[in-house]
C-alpha cells in the first residue's frame, strides 16, 4: 500500500515534468529560429526512426499478402508476354494469329522435398483450375518439374530434382542444346550433356530452356555454367548452377501448351 501511495506522486511528478518541459520546448521552438531548426530536426529524426521500425513490423506481417499480390501480378505479366510474343511472331511471318502458345496458371507450393533422390511437390491447383497431367511447372527463376497427378484442387509434381528427369536446355551464347538432368548430389547443381566439343562454354554463361519440347516455353533462364569437362571424347558435360532455389519455392506457374495436342497428333501420324 505504501509502495502504491509512493508510486502515484512519482508518476504524476514525471508526467508534470514532461508536460512542463514539452511546453517550454514548444515556446522555444516558436520563439527561436535556431532552436526551432534543431528541435524539429531531432523530432523528425525520432519520427523517421519510429516510422522505419513500425514499417518493418508491418511489412513483416504483410509478407504473405504482398507475395500473393506479386505472384498474381507476375502471372498477369507472363500471360501478357506470351500473348505479345505470339502476336509478334504472327506479324513477322504474316501468319494468322492463333493466340498465345502457352497459358500460365499461378499456383502455391504446399509441399516440397529436395533431399531425396526422387523429389516431388504438391501444388494448390487442380483439375478445377485447368491443370492436367503432363503440364510443365516453372517459377520466376527456372523450371521446377512436370505435373504427374491431378485431383480437383491439387496436383502432384515430379521435381526436376529427380533421377530420370531432364529438361531440354541450350547455351545462351551459342544456342547449342542438350538434355539437362540432376546428377543427384546437390540440389542446385545440374549436368548439361551432349554439347559438342567445339562449342566454347565459359563459367558464367547462361543456360536457357531450348523450347524443343512441348512442355516448356523457350528462353526461360535456368542457371549459369560453373565448369565443363569432355565426356566420352565426343561431347562436353557442363555443370550448371540453377538460378532456382528449390528449398524456398512458394509460388510457381503451371504451363499449358495450347498446341500440345496438335503437335502430338502430328507425331503420331508420322510413320
Amino acid at each position: 500500500m505504501n509502495n502504491r501511495s509512493g508510486l502515484l506522486p512519482t508518476l504524476t511528478a514525471i508526467l508534470l515534468f514532461i508536460a512542463l518541459e514539452s511546453l517550454s520546448l514548444v515556446l522555444v521552438t516558436e520563439s527561436g529560429v535556431v532552436q526551432r531548426f534543431r528541435i524539429m530536426g531531432t523530432l523528425r529524426s525520432v519520427q523517421a526512426w519510429g516510422w522505419t521500425r513500425t514499417s518493418n513490423v508491418s511489412h513483416f506481417f504483410n509478407y504473405r499478402t504482398e507475395n500473393e499480390r506479386l505472384a498474381a501480378e507476375n502471372l498477369q505479366l507472363h500471360q501478357e508476354l506470351a500473348a505479345a510474343q505470339a502476336a509478334a511472331r504472327a506479324a513477322d511471318s504474316l501468319e494468322v494469329a492463333v493466340g498465345p502458345d502457352f497459358t500460365w496458371i499461378g499456383a502455391g507450393v504446399i509441399k516440397n522435398t529436395v533431399d531425396r533422390q526422387h523429389n516431388h511437390l504438391i501444388l494448390d491447383k487442380g483439375s478445377c483450375e485447368g491443370v492436367e497431367t503432363g503440364m510443365g511447372v516453372v517459377s520466376s527463376r527456372g523450371v521446377v518439374g512436370i505435373v504427374d497427378g491431378v485431383s480437383p484442387h491439387y496436383c502432384h509434381v515430379v521435381s526436376l530434382l529427380g533421377a530420370g528427369q531432364s529438361v531440354s536446355a541450350k547455351l545462351g551464347k551459342s544456342g547449342a542444346f542438350g538434355p539437362m538432368s540432376w546428377p543427384g548430389r546437390e540440389p542446385g547443381l545440374m549436368l548439361l550433356s551432349e554439347i559438342p566439343v567445339h562449342i566454347q562454354a565459359a563459367p558464367g554463361d547462361t543456360v536457357l530452356t531450348s523450347g524443343y519440347s512441348t512442355i516448356y516455353p523457350p528462353d526461360i533462364p535456368l542457371g549459369s555454367v560453373v565448369s565443363s569437362q569432355v565426356s566420352k571424347g565426343s561431347s562436353q558435360e557442363l555443370t550448371v548452377r540453377l538460378f532456382e532455389e528449390f528449398r524456398s519455392l512458394h509460388h510457381v506457374y503451371v504451363i499449358r501448351n495450347n498446341h500440345q495436342q496438335e503437335i502430338e497428333a502430328l507425331y503420331e501420324s508420322l510413320p
Binding site: P9, L16, F17, L20, E21, L27, V28, E30, S31, R38
Partner: protein, 167 residues
C-alpha cells in the same frame, strides 16, 4: 527574517535576475543566473509538483520580461527544479533529520549548502546553455561557457544567500 521578509527578499532576487538578464551583458562566455538560489529558497515542504510549477512560472515570467528566447529559462528552471528533493536528501539532509521550512546557509553548513547550490546551478546551466547553443557551437566553447557561468552564478548565489535566515 520573518516569512514576509523572506518573501520580499525572494521577489527582490527575482527582480535582480530580471535586471541582470536585461541590462548586464558579460559577453558570450558568461551567463549569470540566480535561478539556483530562487529554487533553493522555495519552501522545503513543497512537493516536487509545486516546485516544478513555481520554477516554470518564474522561468516563463523571466522569458516574458527579458529579451531572450521564450521558454529557454522555463525549460532550464524546470530541469533544475525536478531533482531538488532528491538532491537535498542526497547532498544535505543525508542523515534524514527533520526537514526545516527553509534551507539556509547557516542551517545546512557551508559545504553542504555549496554542493547543493552547485548541483542546481550545474543542472540549470547545462540545460540552458545546451538549448541556447542548439548544437551549433563548438564543444570547447560550450564547455568554457558552462564553466565560467557556473563559477560566476554559484559565487553570486552564495553571496546573496547570506541574508537568508530561517525563522
Amino acid at each position: 527574517m520573518n516569512p514576509y521578509r523572506n518573501l520580499l527578499y525572494f521577489v527582490l532576487l527575482f527582480l535582480l535576475q530580471l535586471a541582470i538578464s536585461d541590462y548586464v551583458h558579460l559577453g558570450p562566455w558568461v551567463t549569470v543566473t540566480l535561478f539556483p538560489l530562487l529554487i533553493v529558497l522555495l519552501p522545503l515542504s513543497w512537493s516536487p509538483h509545486k516546485v516544478m510549477l513555481a520554477a516554470f512560472v518564474m522561468g516563463l515570467a523571466l522569458d516574458v520580461f527579458s529579451n531572450g528566447v521564450m521558454g529557454l529559462n522555463a525549460f532550464a528552471a524546470v530541469t533544475a527544479a525536478a531533482p531538488r528533493r532528491f538532491l537535498y536528501r542526497t547532498l544535505v539532509n543525508n542523515d534524514r533529520q527533520d526537514e526545516t521550512v527553509l534551507m539556509t546557509l547557516r542551517q545546512a553548513g557551508f559545504i553542504k549548502y555549496f554542493k547543493f547550490l552547485l548541483a542546481l546551478a550545474a543542472i540549470f546551466l547545462a540545460a540552458f546553455i545546451l538549448l541556447d547553443c542548439a548544437g551549433l557551437r563548438p564543444f570547447g566553447f560550450v564547455l568554457g561557457r558552462f564553466t565560467a557561468s557556473l563559477l560566476a552564478s554559484t559565487a553570486l548565489c552564495l553571496a546573496l544567500s547570506l541574508p537568508v535566515q530561517n525563522h
